[in-house]
Symmetry: D2
Subunit: 141 residues, 4 copies
């Protein structure tokens, strides 16, 4: 699925996927490639918060799921898609309202049928979520 | 935090937490206690979907995070709150638009500082997410 | 691979796999089917301990890996074998020297290519490890 | 607990913990600090194998548990010890007889009560296990 390019706001020029209904509503989350590789980002707003005043764990895990695919994107072959098989999350610190959330990671191994990915979400410069996951490849009909 | 009670719709009479900004937006998700214990539920609508036509993994993981606390709720002591430390997710099947999602689980152990929980999300009667997690207790100020 | 049957000791009559070099050395671990389904077991001896006087986490995780296959065994088709893809472990309590360790669990879903399993290890009657994992099926050559 | 120093063999000069009964039997596993930081290692021998001719998953997870502590070692305060709370493992490739297994990783965050660690085990130069875990600190009596 082709991304759209944000035409305004803080993430102008970044990729995003407006047809992703839940992801757009939960985020939206943005992706770019810079000199260090893939980076994802969003700004923590009131709608991302939990009742305790931190970014909700579900919001962070949704961003992590977005990152699994953002990181693995160039490893898919022509006509291939993927579904998340597993996603493990360790909440190492809280993220606060107004902070810029970014994420980077790596493909640990791109196997024939499964791609293994892991990464970190940062709240400004503090690690706040460590995640790892596996994606099952399949041929889109 | 005291829940509200839904006054209309499919989950009339169930508890929900409207002050939870992200959770309300991602769900809302509902909780009830029946003869088998705690049950959580929501109905998969268009806003919960991914671009592939299934309920988004982030939506399921947000519901899982909601369930960790819903299941552990009665194990918190007076004045105690909790934060998610870890949440592991295995996506065993896809959930489709219009399906009723429910979830049940159990406290594996409520330790002095950490509560361990696990459970399953069902799409109608099919298991679609197996989750486990740990919650750190702390005294609310 | 066909199991052997223990002919003496506490687990006389139970199945075990002596060709599994590491598992035999780490355990050995035993399997049986009773009226509640598959059960695994071993007795915590000095060789299973860590320096803190509890059963070593690696011993418990090896037993968990043994259980993933013990629980999934009857779900393999003719000529099929499996490899562990993922194994998540939550150490909810310590197990002590001399305790009987047992384990039960369930197949959450046996998919076409992947089997999802989870279970619990008990030290006497206390849960001490909660585990979940996925096994990839493949045809043995 | 003070390590011993290997006085012979391939890992001469490396640290190891002979009082760790299970770990010694499962491994032994070795630790060193080089210019890139902490490294762990062992050589895959027949006793580490499963019946399929690969290093047993339980052996790799035991090495991962050893690495959680090896990586976190310098983060413990005076008189502090740790117990593994969680350990997640993704088996990304098989390790074979005779291969040198090494591992590196990082402390994602050393919190007041919990240390979060993750790393990779390599079979020669191929990643074979991606692991992450959390260690609970406590004061040794």
């Amino acid at each position: 699925m082709k991304p759209s390019i944000a035409t305004e706001g803080e993430f102008k020029g970044w990729e995003y996927w407006p047809e992703e209904a839940f992801e757009s509503r939960a985020g939206p989350f943005y992706r770019m490639i810079d000199e260090e590789g893939v980076i994802g980002a969003f700004r923590a707003e009131t709608r991302h918060m939990n009742a305790g005043g931190s970014v909700h764990g579900g919001c962070l895990m949704t961003f992590a799921d977005f990152m699994l695919f953002s990181i693995a994107l160039d490893y898919f072959r022509n006509g291939e898609m993927g579904v998340t098989l597993t996603c493990n999350n360790e909440f190492v610190d809280a993220a606060r309202l107004g902070e810029k959330l970014t994420s980077r990671g790596e493909v640990v191994r791109a196997g024939k049928s499964i791609i293994f990915v892991r990464g970190t979400i940062y709240a400004e410069d503090r690690p706040c979520l460590s995640f790892s996951g596996s994606i099952k490849r399949f041929l889109a009909r």
